[in-house]
Amino acid sequence: MPDAFEPVIIGFTCNWCSYRAADLAGTARVKYPPNVRLIRLMCSGRLDPTFVLKALSSGADGVLITGCHPGECHYIEQNYKALRRYLLLHRVLEQMGIEPQRVKLVWASAAEGVRLAQEITTMIEEVRALGPLRWPTAAQNKGRQPVMAAQEAVR
């Protein structure tokens, strides 16, 4: 174990709003901790709950899902479908014994770089407080290194 726990968070972003908000945060040099790693999707509606479970089971301590504000979806209404799946996923996670706070949904428009950075920072702190997830991963079963060890190996 490293002396201080640094959570790893996988963030899913929408190509039209939150990914651009992340770009804007960059352009405006808004700072946030480096614990989040973003994946670009075309829409939060593309988010297959499997992606979240895959991330958690592969070593992520939290998953941030982001999309356009309700009513502002580039594809008209698909973020509502993301919301439905998210709420259902929360119940599943709870039943699996995973703190639901590890998976969070945040709306961020393309103009909200500062807000996205704040939400990322908040979530990192929340997950840090929860501690490592240490999901007994399929990866481990196959003899793979868990992510923590892999990350130490990187250094």
């Binding site: 709003c17 790693r37 999707l41 593309r46 499997t50 992606f51 502002e72 008209i76 428009s109 909200e112």
Partner: protein, 680 residues
């Protein structure tokens, strides 16, 4: 997850290119170390070369990639640099030039998402490694794709008939292409038609605007749809289907000659809140102003005596051509267009919100738009600058700048035009009444051609300038000299003291705000707007008239406050963008589409209700679902929903995303050969 190269040699041959971006990335990320790490640790995943370079996007940087593709036989390319929204196309083109399918290239962002947002160099370097590792895993799953080619319909829809929209429509029509110009008021002209003079040249607004209005209406390529609103938009770039509601005019435009007798005879006077800014009257049947284009009046149904009480019909009786038609109904028309230009303009900030300035409570406090009408020779006072009583000429006038702008309580932004507008008012008041004029300003912003010279001119004319934000406008006199006056309470920050300045008239140089329904418009056309409501440009500097929605362009104040020259430039610029599209006859689109593997589809129909574009159809006979690639927009919601995994989406497939997750979490590292210690 093994990746077989098409030739069966076992693995992809991947090149990784890490950009310094000068010091933009290299200042926070050890790019050389990252490239070395990728060459070493991702070798087992197929990375055969990893380089760093000062500017990957330069032609030398691109040549580096092209040379490697040709000499090393790369089958995949990962570039770690800036956001894909900036340079994805650059690197895809570079790959294509070297003979590699452009969709086998992945650009991962280590600038916007790493070096610019993090402060710890070690952590930023480690994150860059993870991001590159994610890109490598993802790119292995990429498939060669061809862009979709969409034909561009030559017609264009321009929404908003202000000066920006007129300019855009004229450019397109004069180039020989059909334009539908939609305006919700009875006449085109927009805010500019309300002005008297335009700064800094003091041209008469009507004199320069009306010829444009006439030529746009007279152009055979322009279909002018005033008193109309867009109600529905379907389709995508190249082929939009737009539904427009033509509100009932109750005037048959085929018969009407625009003689104006109906307006003369109509007994019902209505306060004109829009064109006259509430200062003047119009009739219930009206054209907003004499030079209105088109010349046909409209009947204002809620105010028409016949519609409300069932009697009157004066206009009908006196119309010499029997053009009045009370039986007209709203008409919905559908048009096909290839591109859309939105030029919907602005609303004036409502100064009632700043109660201490007294607007709406103190009679002689005017808004800027009211003053425009007051000073307009075609306005309610024939251009006489008088107090609200309609007769008294003011002897002292205070002009308050930055009303609702540069104010944390209202709008943070600068409304751009109000300084020059205030100066113009000062000049007009001085010229026409000889009154003493005070300008209360925070900073003077006169940054455009001939603007500062105009400021100097107004200074020389003897207008007084007081630097400071006005605390309040009141009629509560403290001294005999203040009796019957409006007192402007202001901190004079240059003199360093509080002042009370009695004036007869106060003009509020109010800021500009997004249209009250800007968000509805954004939603209707599928564009984004900021939390204020201003439309967001594709790029604020390099692409100010495009939006993130292909085929939808913006011009004028829809994206933020602008003066007339800027609005006209944007109208022309948006038209130029559309023209280049039309001339190309087709556009290449990202092949982001969903498709169904019919052999896996169980016919459960879960996906059937998910598509807002009606791209999913179900074949009852075969009990399988099919996706129409022409209608699919590529959001991927159905891909995520399919329980059988029968739907897959190109560019963002399950395999790609799952692989990227593994890569980001560095699970791929244990694929490395166990003899890690061996030099690589």
């Amino acid at each position: 997850m093994t990746a077989q190269a098409p030739d069966g040699s076992g693995q992809e041959r991947i090149g990784v290119y890490v950009c310094h971006c000068g010091s933009n990335i290299a200042g926070m990320v050890d790019v050389v170390g990252v490239a070395e790490w990728a060459a070493q640790h991702l070798k087992a995943r197929g990375v055969v070369i990893a380089r760093d370079y000062k500017f990957m996007c330069s032609s030398l940087g691109q040549e580096l990639i092209q040379k490697d593709i040709q000499e090393l036989g790369l089958t995949r390319v990962v570039v770690a640099a800036c956001s894909p929204h900036l340079h994805e196309q650059t690197f895809r083109t570079a790959c294509a030039n070297a003979g590699l399918n452009p969709y086998l290239c992945e650009l991962v962002s280590i600038r916007e998402q790493v070096s610019w947002v993090h402060t710890d160099k070690t952590a930023a370097t480690e994150k860059s490694k993870a991001v590159i590792s994610g890109g490598v895993e993802r790119v292995i799953q990429h498939a060669p794709l061809e862009p979709l080619h969409v034909p561009i319909h030559p017609a264009t829809l321009v929404v908003g008939g202000g000066i920006a929209g007129i300019q855009a429509a004229l450019e397109l029509a004069e180039a020989g292409f059909p334009v539908y110009l939609v305006e919700r008021e009875p006449s085109i002209g927009g805010h500019m038609a309300q002005f008297d003079k335009t700064f800094p040249t003091l041209d008469c607004a009507a004199c320069i605007l009306t010829p444009r209005m006439v030529s746009v209406a007279a152009n055979p390529n322009v279909t002018l749809l005033t008193w109309s609103e867009v109600t529905h938009v379907e389709g995508y770039v190249g082929n939009f289907t737009v539904t427009i509601r033509k509100k009932a005019r109750y005037v048959n435009t085929d018969l009407c000659t625009g003689c104006g007798i109906c307006q003369e005879k109509c007994p019902k006077k209505v306060i004109d809140e829009i064109y006259e800014a509430g200062l003047g009257y119009r009739k219930a049947v009206y054209t907003p102003f004499p030079q209105a284009v088109p010349k046909y009046p409209v009947i204002d149904r809620p105010n028409c005596t016949y519609f409300q009480k069932g009697t009157c019909r004066a206009c009908e009786k006196f119309c010499p051509t029997n053009a009045i038609d009370f039986t007209q109904e709203d008409e919905y028309i559908t048009v096909q267009v290839g591109n859309i230009i939105l030029a919907t303009g602005f609303d004036l900030f409502d100064p009632r919100r700043i109660t201490q300035l007294g607007y709406g409570r103190l009679a002689n406090v005017f808004t800027s738009l009211e003053f425009e009408r007051l000073s307009n020779s075609a306005g309610p006072t024939n251009g006489n600058i008088v107090l609200r009583d309609g007769v008294t000429t003011p002897k002292t006038v205070g002009i308050i700048h930055c009303v609702g702008s540069r104010d944390r309580n209202y709008n943070n932004y600068c409304s751009v035009i109000c300084c020059m507008q205030g100066l113009k008012f000062a000049h007009l008041v001085k010229e026409r009444t000889g009154a003493v004029v005070y300008n209360f300003y925070i900073d003077m912003r006169t940054a455009a051609k001939a603007y500062d010279e105009f400021y100097q001119r107004v200074l020389e004319e003897g207008t007084l300038f007081v630097r400071g934000r006005v605390a309040q406008v009141t009629d509560a006199a403290r001294l005999p000299s203040e009796e019957g006056k409006l007192i402007v309470q202001v901190e004079d920050t240059l003199a360093g003291k509080q002042r009370r300045i009695p004036v007869d008239m106060v003009i509020l140089s109010a800021g500009l705000e997004p249209r009250h329904d800007a968000k509805d418009v954004a939603k209707l056309f599928g564009i984004s707007c900021s939390s204020d409501g201003w439309a967001i440009e594709k790029h604020p500097k390099l692409d100010p008239v495009a939006t993130m929605t292909e085929g939808v362009f913006i011009a004028g104040c829809i994206s933020g406050p602008k003066d007339i020259p800027a609005s006209v430039s944007q109208g022309a610029a948006a038209a130029a963008r559309v023209l280049s599209r039309i001339q190309q006859k087709e556009i290449a689109l990202e092949p982001v589409r969903a498709s169904v593997d019919e052999t896996k589809c169980s016919g459960c129909r879960i996906c059937n209700n998910l598509c807002p574009f009606n791209a999913i159809l179900f074949h009852e006979d075969r009990m399988v679902t099919e996706i129409n690639p022409a209608l699919c927009q590529g959001c991927g919601t159905c891909v995520a929903a399919c329980p059988a995994g029968a739907i897959s989406g190109t560019v963002f497939s399950n395999a790609q995303v799952l692989a990227q997750i593994e890569g980001l979490l560095l699970l791929n590292l244990e694929y490395a050969p166990s003899a890690e210690a061996a030099p690589v």
